[in-house]
Amino acid sequence: MLSYTVNRLLLAVAIVLVAMLILFSMIHLVPGDAASIALGPRATPELVQEFRNRMGLDKPLPVQFAVFLGNALRGDLGNDLFTNTPVVAVILRELPHTFALASLGLGWSVLLGIPLGCFSAAFRNTWADRISGVMAVSAIAVPSFVVAIYLLLLFAVELRWFPALGAGPAGQPLTQLWYLVLPSFALGLGWVGYIARLVRASMLEVLADNHIRTARAFGLPERRILYVYALKLGILPTVTLLGTGMGRLLSGAVFIEIVFNRPGIGKLVLEAVNTRNYPIVLGAVLITTIIFVLCTLAADLLAAKLDPRVREKL
């Protein structure tokens, strides 16, 4: 188990490095001089060149990459091109909002997806199963930003039950939680479908096992068999999926952040790409990649902890 963990950590480092290399190449391949765009149309050529020199944009790309990595290892991700604020500070200000949004989105998907999956498994091959299947697939198919807009129009504009935009006043966690209800639901709805289908499939497999047959033979109530004996095993694949899900929701949060005008990493990166604010793009993607990799690793380790069969294979 220890060697598995170490191997996975080393792999995580390699993944992050490769991701950063690809990203670094991509952002410099996009046409459009960062200095000209940053300084605007009234900048003189001398000003543009001085800006390029100051930001190190005049150096060869491999040198720029090496400098970036070296600084990143020291915790220095550079400064925002326009406001000169340290990138770390900017990211730390925005990241908790995206993290909260993704976590609550995942929470919705678990809260609704697991019962839906169990329900489908319990009433397999009936009309109830088919209807819940349609609901699950519909939830997967509808884009999150479409859900977001309709939720906004209905619950915030028409009914005024929820606020329309923003994250709520700082220092008021309960109010901020209220502001999270619609965006997190919009974000997590797609994963409700994924989790429901996955739970259904794995539950059906478990329900066919010998120990379940034995439990039934002992006359245990079906509900207890389903939710106590079967679900404990049936939920294991979902645990692994949650790690990937967290990463996917972190990156998918950008649409929700734009529609609901919420602060967050997604909106930050989008604006930074449009303005060629490279330090922000690099820093934010680096942090997000690390989180994604760690979430996946944590999910794998948790799965290994919960399932002895996985531990034995390791």
Binding site: P31, G32, T44, R93, L152, N261
Partner: protein, 527 residues
């Protein structure tokens, strides 16, 4: 039961209790109304971008200007309303005594926050000279390019001495963001003597109450301000980047004023939100179709003229702006000096003439080209309609969406990739002086913003001369001539100036610039 002794004292006490009772009762009844009356009057307005830099020398966008105009003083400020005018701010007197001399006197008693004392002429000198100083490297140095120096004639008076006459000083420098005054003592104490979001000291009708970077900025009335008192106690300027999200936020009651996309105007006119007003104002910006004229088929003026005759501009405008934007006659809108009354090429497309010209140029069979446009709905719509117009005369145009950075990079490419450019549809924003329109089409802008690679010595000369031309009639003639030269070159088809649409509560009287782009918070008032 103990009997009560009636005495003069007890009678007086009882009478006072009886007299007080209505007051107490009345106070209880009136309490909610009093609370409402005492509750601060707050205006929630939408900003399309984050407020990033509040230093006039380093500002990034219009939203920065909206806030700066509310918290920093200037000699004169632009006036909200339907005409481009200015009004005195801190200057009690300001006069141009000759083409290169402007004398000013400041109002006394205008205090900086933070204990930095009074605003003086020293602050004025510092603020203007720092932008003009090449060593300071401000991107707005051209606003003060003609500044020789600011002389102090007293603690509250001075003289702005120019190297040469400069007409935009009165239209876009002094009344706008480059004319804002910062506190010398506060800024000199800062590292690098520049700032982003903390000016160190402010002096204006409002001061900063709360700043949440990239989210919102809240301004509160400045009790030290000795100028006209603004109507709202607080302004909450909320960043909402997406225009559709802003419209939803307005409908949800979370902002009181927002700009809306032109595509929403038709719907909002048919079914307006309750207790709201929609204001559509003509913009100063200019849209045009340009042709890269140094290489490829458009190097031949006959081909460029063919495009001028082939394009159905009215159809482009109808399809793109849904009838909201009017056709333009040049770069300069009707609100400004230099506006042309008519285009030289007729308003109706002449396909036969276009085909004749192409045949004369040896391209009677047509040819392939590209139309480069910004990657947005309006531009793509305009490009599709333009392509359809051109196809009728045999010009087969492929539409290439870009972002602005890509287009500029292509235009300035040193390896010659600029030769790949054919036609493009452009839009530049504009300030209320005609020199800001022609500035991007001079020869020195080739490879920068002059994507047509248009070069004309007379145009360049007129552009430089018109900035110093104080005679309005002569200036008018100069700018008309410049636009004629542009159209005669065949490289340009002028489309429109577009429009701006604003949505606001009936209970709000907005303080906007004539083109609806800028907000003057001090001039917003409840109705």
């Amino acid at each position: 039961m103990k009997s009560r002794i009636v005495s003069r004292r007890t009678v007086l006490v009882d009478m006072s209790r009886v007299a007080a009772a209505p007051s107490v009762f009345g106070a209880l009844i009136m309490a909610p109304f009093n609370a409402a009356a005492q509750a601060p009057k707050v205006l929630k307005s939408r900003g399309a971008q984050a407020v990033s830099v509040l230093d006039p020398a380093g500002r990034l966008g219009a939203v920065d200007g909206d806030v700066m105009q509310a918290i920093l003083p200037s000699l004169v400020k632009w006036k909200a309303g339907s005409r481009w005018e200015w009004e005195k701010d801190l200057a009690t007197d300001i006069q141009q005594t000759d083409p290169t001399t402007i004398r000013f006197t400041l109002r006394r008693g205008a205090m900086w926050t933070g204990g930095f004392g009074e605003v003086t002429a020293e602050d004025v000198k510092y603020s203007f000279e720092r932008i003009a100083d090449p060593a300071f490297k401000s991107a707005y140095r051209t606003d003060w390019d003609s500044l020789e120096r600011v002389e102090l004639t007293g603690s509250h008076s001075g003289v702005i001495v120019l190297k040469r006459a400069f007409v935009p000083l009165w239209t876009t420098t002094l009344p706008m963001d480059s004319g804002l005054i910062v506190c010398k003592k506060a800024v000199e104490a800062m590292p690098e003597k520049k700032f982003t979001l903390d000016p160190g000291a402010t002096c204006g009708p409002y001061r900063i109450k709360k700043l949440e970077p990239r989210r919102s900025i809240t301004l509160e009335r400045n009790p030290q301000w000795n100028g006209a008192r603004p109507a709202y106690d607080e302004i909450e300027y909320i960043q909402i980047v997406d225009a559709n999200a802003a419209e939803i936020a307005y409908q949800a009651g979370e902002v009181d004023y927002t700009q809306v996309p032109l595509s929403s105007v038709g719907r909002l006119r048919k079914t307006p939100p309750p207790k709201s007003k929609l204001l559509v104002t003509p913009s100063l910006a200019y849209w045009w179709v340009g042709m890269q004229s140094e290489s490829g088929p458009f190097a031949d003026i006959r081909v460029r003229r063919a495009v001028q005759h082939a394009l159905d501009v009215d159809m482009i405008l109808e399809g793109t702006f849904l009838g909201i934007a009017q056709r333009s006659t040049g770069l300069i809108a009707s609100a400004l000096v230099g506006h042309r009354k008519a285009n030289k090429v007729g308003n109706k497309p002449d396909k036969a003439r276009a085909r004749t010209l192409l045949a004369e140029a040896g391209l009677g069979g047509g040819f392939r080209t590209t139309i480069g446009v910004r990657n947005s709905t309006e531009f793509l719509s305009a490009a599709q309609i333009a392509a359809a117009s051109l196809a009728e005369v045999g010009i087969r145009a492929e539409i290439i969406p870009f972002d602005t950075g890509q287009q500029k990079a292509l235009a300035g490419d040193k390896t010659g990739r600029w030769k790949e450019a054919g036609i493009h549809i452009g839009r530049f924003s504009m300030l209320p002086d005609p020199s800001w329109a022609t500035a991007w089409f001079v020869s020195s802008q080739i490879g920068e913003w002059n994507w047509e690679r248009f070069s004309n010595a007379e145009f360049d000369r007129l552009h430089d001369a018109a900035k110093s031309e104080l005679n309005a009639t002569r200036r008018q003639e100069m700018y008309e001539r410049m636009q004629d030269i542009m159209e005669d070159s065949g490289s340009y088809v002028f489309l429109t100036h577009g429009a701006s649409a604003s949505l606001y509560r009936e209970s709000v009287k907005p303080g906007l610039s004539p083109d609806g782009q800028l907000q003057k918070f001090a001039d917003f008032a409840p109705v």
